[in-house]
């Protein structure tokens, strides 16, 4: 059972365009939603994260939009650049303390073309 559903599986965007990746979840106890970025041959790295008490968080060209009632959140990459070409993972977490761990989506491979 996929607890965090991510779409699309792959995405091609022209340089300067907006990249949008969507995630949906079922577990209403999730209370932390990060995005990770992974370049080929490397491990994922934390990009940006949001808590459900806010509807949007922006860091530079990257924005998370969060819709608690729909149980959905999305990553927007403004002015997409070729250097943004990577695989992006959404994730969610509910537990704190010793059981704290992330559940990841299936990933989106983004290609930004010139």
């Amino acid at each position: 059972q996929q607890q965090v559903k991510q779409s699309p599986q792959s995405l091609i965007v022209q340089k300067g365009g907006i990249s949008i990746i969507n995630c949906a979840y079922e577990n209403t106890a999730f209370d932390y939603f990060p995005w990770y970025q992974q370049f080929p041959g490397k491990g994922p790295a934390l990009l940006i994260a949001i808590r459900p008490d806010v509807s949007e968080k922006k860091e530079g060209r990257f924005t998370i939009s969060f819709n608690k009632s729909a149980k959905q959140f999305s990553l927007h990459i403004m002015d997409s650049q070729p250097g943004d070409s990577a695989t992006y993972f959404c994730a969610a977490s509910t537990e704190t303390g010793t059981a704290s761990k992330l559940t990841f989506g299936t990933g989106t491979r983004l290609q930004v073309t010139l």
Partner: protein
């Protein structure tokens, strides 16, 4: 990646043989995790640790065991490797669990033939 090292980086092994992957950290972080990455499945949690000798299962733990006898080392063992365990394995560390942000290693590509 700084502060976390996985070994080996690549390994080819035969079906039925035991395999141990090592994750070593120099950050003194409490939490350590083992994930596997497969196309179409993303990152799936195998086992994790929240302290020395304190471990718990993830969603895909069957066929795997772990040990953490020191803060800095987290070992993942495939007791009897199968072809379905061919994957890229990532170790991650965190000072505060999920909320602390994970730092991932560079991964181990394991092929079981």
């Amino acid at each position: 990646d700084a502060g976390i090292t996985q070994s080996p980086r690549h390994k080819v092994t035969e079906t039925g043989t035991p395999v141990t992957l090592r994750c070593h950290q120099t950050e003194n972080h409490r939490y350590m995790y083992w994930y596997r990455q497969d196309p179409g499945h993303g990152l799936r949690l195998i086992h994790y640790s929240y302290g020395v000798k304190d471990t718990d299962k993830g969603e895909v733990s069957d066929g795997y065991s772990v040990s953490r006898s020191k803060t800095e080392d987290f070992l993942l063992t495939l007791e009897s490797a199968t072809s379905s365990q061919t994957s890229v394995y990532f170790c991650a560390i965190s000072p505060q669990g999920a909320l602390g942000g994970y730092t991932f290693g560079s991964g181990t590509r394991l092929t079981v033939v």
